[in-house]
């Protein structure tokens, strides 16, 4: 992904599993919060 012009250090590879884990770790609580908020907001249209 990166495109260094002069970096002579050893290249790395970010494991896809780590990226997926990191996004899941923040995504699951966010989905939980969104679900609960949408549930609360439905009272606005059902009431």
């Amino acid at each position: 992904m990166s495109h260094p012009a002069t970096d002579n250090r050893q290249p790395t590879h970010t494991p896809v599993g780590l990226i997926a884990f990191a996004w899941t770790l923040v995504g699951v609580p966010l989905a939980y919060g969104l679900y609960n908020t949408v549930k609360a907001a439905t009272a606005l249209f059902g009431g």
């Binding site: 992904m1 990166s2 495109h3 260094p4 012009a5 002069t6 970096d7 250090r9 050893q10 290249p11 790395t12 590879h13 970010t14 780590l18 990226i19 990191a22 996004w23 770790l25 923040v26 609580p29 966010l30 939980y32 919060g33 969104l34 609960n36 908020t37 949408v38 609360a40 907001a41 439905t42 009272a43 606005l44 249209f45 009431g47």
Partner: protein, 471 residues
């Protein structure tokens, strides 16, 4: 102030091949935690009963935290830029978590001052450092899409409240089964203290995870296919750099400060009063046609638009430009406020729709401002400049409620107000947005005399961040 070597910026420079999509979750891990600051209303009544105090006295805890957010972001911004995001996120986590622990101890022992000091003072410092810590890093990792990058992080701050509210209710129900989250039931103090200790543990894990996966790009790194020279073709966007000390001497900084202050003040005007406002707009004599549960749903809907606006509008600014998007926030915002004031009480859908879009602009204003700063002042000390600009938020946090509550106090008694009583406050907001609109129009590119010398490479610049301060 030196930091331990494992936190140092030099230790987290990414090697070639590092995937930049690991950085947004690192930023979100911090912002989703500190966003809890907007969910304090969940246990407010419980604290009033536990301390046998008043809503005002308990409300001061939140006010101290927001003031400390502004103060610490302004004071520690340069330190954050110099030492990098890992040191900043680590420090933020320590303050934020200690704030919960000390605050929980204050609840447990019945000492309100400990809650002021813990959650308000210590936690507020964690808020300020945490808020700005990932922003400049994201801007450097996404030079091709800075609006998207800052939108992702600052969306997390809005999302943090969405998570903390239901989670806090469930945890307090677990610690005090007599509390079920419905109106009329209030958790006991022990349950709130236990909630504080639990949140401290959870936030420590999340924030440390963010701190240890974050990386900064090498100075000569750029995304594949990105040509930095293409950036300069856009109006207002510079490839030069301005130090934080010099930035605050420019009219552009203060014009943007005014823009943020006006946009936030106008948004807070609605956010502060959301639940009673919708009931008052549809009041018929002593009763409102909008039930309390529906009003709570309206508050939830505003939270969603607040969060979505941060991501959607900030990302849009990458395509249409920062100045035009603020013309939308402020110009269309004025029209929407006029519609709200004049037609808002004629139909619920008009009221809900206009308020929701206004709040999306409020969130968008927060998320787009770091990218606007990067356009004007470059990436060199954008975190520190952002920190200083956030004093506008602290000022708006005082001015917004003061305007709305001050006007409503002259109009009648809470519980008996109607739509017409809100009109003076809403038209004041229209005036404020007009001031912000003009300030935004006046923003021009920064004069070349404020630019950092080209000969100095970024690494040297970090080692000597104040070299141009005397200019």
């Amino acid at each position: 102030m030196a930091v331990p070597s494992f936190l140092a910026r030099d230790r987290i420079v990414a090697r070639p091949g590092f995937n930049r999509w690991l950085i947004p979750p690192a930023a979100l891990a911090v912002h989703l935690c500190i966003g809890q600051a907007y969910a304090t209303s969940v246990y407010k009544t419980a604290l009033v009963e536990h301390f046998d105090s008043t809503l005002t006295a308990i409300g001061i805890i939140f006010s101290i935290a927001i003031v400390m957010l502004g103060v610490s972001a302004a004071l520690f911004g340069t330190w954050v830029d110099r030492n990098g995001p890992r040191a900043a996120m680590f420090t933020s986590a320590c303050f934020w978590v200690t704030g919960f622990l000390v605050g929980g101890l204050g609840i447990e022992t019945g000492q309100l001052w400990l809650l002021y000091f813990g959650y308000g003072f210590l936690g507020g410092i964690g808020l300020g450092i945490g808020y700005i810590s990932p922003v400049s890093t994201l801007i450097k990792w996404f030079p091709d899409r800075p609006g998207l990058a800052t939108g992702m992080a600052i969306m997390g701050f809005g999302g943090g409240a969405l998570i903390a509210s239901p989670l806090s209710r469930q945890l307090m129900n677990y610690y005090d089964p007599t509390y079920d989250g419905t109106a009329g039931t209030v958790p006991n103090g022990e349950a709130v203290a236990a909630l504080f200790f639990t949140l401290a543990a959870v936030y420590l894990v999340f924030m440390m995870f963010g701190a240890f996966i974050v990386r900064v790009p090498a100075d000569d790194w750029r995304p594949d296919g990105f040509d930095p020279s293409s950036v300069k073709k856009k109006a207002l966007v510079t490839t030069e750099n301005v130090s934080a000390n010099n930035a605050i001497k420019t009219p552009q900084f203060w014009l943007l400060w005014t823009v943020l202050f006006c946009n936030v003040t106008a948004g807070i005007g609605i956010l502060e009063q959301a639940a009673p406002m919708i009931q008052d707009f549809f009041r018929n004599g002593e009763t409102s046609t909008v039930a309390a549960a529906t009003a709570a749903g309206f508050v939830g809907l505003l939270s969603l638009f607040n969060m979505a606006g941060r991501f959607v509008w900030s990302s849009t600014s990458d395509f249409i430009g920062r100045k035009p998007i603020y013309m939308v926030y402020l110009g269309v915002g004025m029209v929407l406020y006029v519609i709200l004031a004049t037609l808002g009480s004629t139909a619920t859908w008009i009221f809900v729709l206009t308020a929701a879009i206004i709040i999306s602009f409020y969130g968008g204003g927060f998320a787009t401002v770091p990218a606007y700063l990067r356009d004007l002042f470059g990436t060199y000390q954008v975190g520190a400049i952002h920190g200083r600009l956030l004093t506008a938020w602290a000022a708006a946090g005082v001015a917004g409620p003061l305007i709305v509550n001050g006007v409503l106090d002259t109009q009648g008694t809470p519980g008996q107000l109607v739509a017409a009583n809100y009109r003076p406050a809403l038209f004041i907001m229209v005036g404020l947005l007009a001031v912000g609109f003009v300030a935004n129009l006046l923003i021009r590119p920064v004069a070349a005399k404020w630019f950092e010398p080209k000969a100095t490479d970024p690494a040297t610049a970090r080692a000597n961040p104040e070299r141009s301060a005397a200019r």
